[in-house]
Amino acid sequence: MSKITDMTKTHNWSGQKLVTADHLLFDAPREKHFMTGSEVLKEAVKRCTVDASVSYPITPQSEAAHLIGELWAEGYVGVYFRGENEFGVMSEVAGCAMAGARTITTTSGPGTLRAMENFAQWSGTRIPCQLILMARGINSPLTIQPDNLEVSYMLETGCQIWYAENVQELFDMSIAAFIVAEKPDVHVPIITVVDGFFVSHTREAVMLPADDIALFPYEPYKSPLPPIDSETPPGRFLRDPFVMKSNYISYATHASWQWEVRSAVERSRPYAKHFLNGLVHVTGEEDAEIAFVTCGTASNQAKEAHRELMKLGIKTKVIKLRTIRPFPTEELIEALEGVKNVFVPEFNVVGWLEKEVKTALYKKSDADVVGGPRVAGGMSMPAEAIIQEVMEKINPGKGA
C-alpha cells in the first residue's frame, strides 16, 4: 500500500494521476458500469484524493460509509475512523477540515438531527467539508424509510445544499462539490443530498471515468481562515469562539459574520452553474402552462407523469432544482415564464420545497403554486398520484 507521504506534484499517495475537476468531470473518457448509489459514492471518493473520512452507521448510509472505509484499506483515503456517534462524527469532521484536510462523511435521518449543532458550526468556521446526506425519515414513530423531511432542518445552517436525482448525478455532484466548496471565496461546507434507498440502494447504469485519475489535493493555505497548524505560520490561531465573549465583541460583529457565511453560499453560484451545467435542469415542453418543480427522485416521478400527461394531450415540463442553497430563484423564474400552474411533488409531510418555491416566486410570478402531491414515511410516489393532482386542478370535480 502506498503512503500518505508519497504525494508528488503529478500523483497522489495512491499513485493516481492528479487532474483538474474539469478534466475528471467533462473530458476524461468514461465507461459504463452497473452500481448502487453507495457503490458509486465509493467510486467518487476514490477519485477525490480525500484526506479524511469519519463514519458512524445509520441506515441507509451505513453501506456507503463502510465502502469508504474499504477505500482507506486500499490506500485511497488518508485517514478513516469511526466516531462515537453522529455528534462526535461531525465534530471530528470539523477538526479534520480545520486542520486542512479534504474531509467527507455520510449520515441519514435521525443521525442528521443528532449532529445538528455541528452543521451551523461547520459553516460558521468556513470549512469546505462534504456531507453526503442519504435522506431518511425522522423518528416518531421509529422509521428507517425514505423521506426527505430532514432536509428542511438543514436549510438554514449556512451550508450549501445540492440535490442529486440518481446514481449518475450522485457521482458527478460529489466530485464537483469538493471543488466548489473549496473555492476560497466560497469555502463553506456542502451537503450533497440523495433520497435514501431510492438512490443509495438502487443499481443503475452509470458512466465512470477511469480510476487511475483523481483530483488535485486540497490547498489549505488558500482557506479564508488560517488552518489550525501550531507549527507553520501564518496559522498559529485557533478559530476563537468569539461569540461567547459577548462582553467584548459586539453582537453586530456576529451579524456581520453570519452574513458573510451566507454571502459565501451566494458566491458559489457561478461555480455551481459551471460544474452542474446550470442550477436547474428543465425537461418537457417548452411552452407548457403546467410545470413540476422538483428535486431528487421526485423529479424522476414527475418526468414519468409528464410522459403520461403527454399521451392525454396535456403539455407539462419538469424543472429540477439541482441546488437548494443557494436557491436558484432567477433560473426558476425564467423557467416558469408562461407557466400558469406549478406543482411541487415531494417526499415529506411538511412541504419544505413548496415553501421555498413560494418564497422565491412571491410577487415575481403569477403562477398558481400547488404544494403536492406529498408522500411521507417511506411511501412511494406513483406517477398516478401526480397526474391526479394535476387533473383535479385543471379539471375540477372530474378527477383524473
Binding site: L225, F242, W259, E266
Partner: protein, 189 residues
Amino acid sequence: MANQGPAYYSPYPTAVYEGVITPPEGKALLLTEVVDEEIAMREIAKVMLTSENATIFPGPQVLYGFNEEAKKKAKLIKEMAEVLNSKMIPMYDYRPKYPKIDAEVEINPNHPNLTIWHNNIKAAIFIGVHCHYANVALKIVRAETDCYTIAICGLSGHEDAMATLRDQHSSELEKFIKIAREVKAELGK
C-alpha cells in the same frame, strides 16, 4: 449606527445581496462597476493620496515570511506605504483582544470600526488578510464608517470593499506602485 442594509434587519449592507459580485479574472471592481485593473489602480492611488490618514492594513499572509512570495510582497507593501504617504496598522492576530483592542497598534476584524474611528482613517487598504476576516471587517467598516476601503487580494477579491483588485501577486504590486508614483506626480504630492 449605519443605514439599514438590504439584508433584512441586519445593520450591515451585504454586497452580494445588492447584486454585487467579485470581478472576473483580469478585471477589478470600483463600487458596483467592473473596470480594467489599471483604471482601478489609478483610482485607488488617487483616493489613498487625497484622503485623510490613509492607512494600509497588512495581514498575516504578508506579515509572516512563510514563503518567498510573502517576503517579496512584504517589502513591496513597505514601498507602497512610502509612495502613498500612508500609515500601516497590522492585522496580525484575529482573536478578540483582552482587555481591549489597542487601536494605535493593530486593527481587529471583530471591531475594525474602533481603529478607523480612533485614527480618523478615511481610506484603507486591506492586504494579506485571510478572506473571511477581511470580509467580516469590510462589512462592518462599510456600515459604520465613512472610510473608503480597498481590497488588494491574492485570490478572487472582496465585493464588500469599495475597490477590489484581485489576483494580486508581487508583479501586480510592482505595477501598482509604478502607477501610484505616476498619480502622485500628477497630483503634485
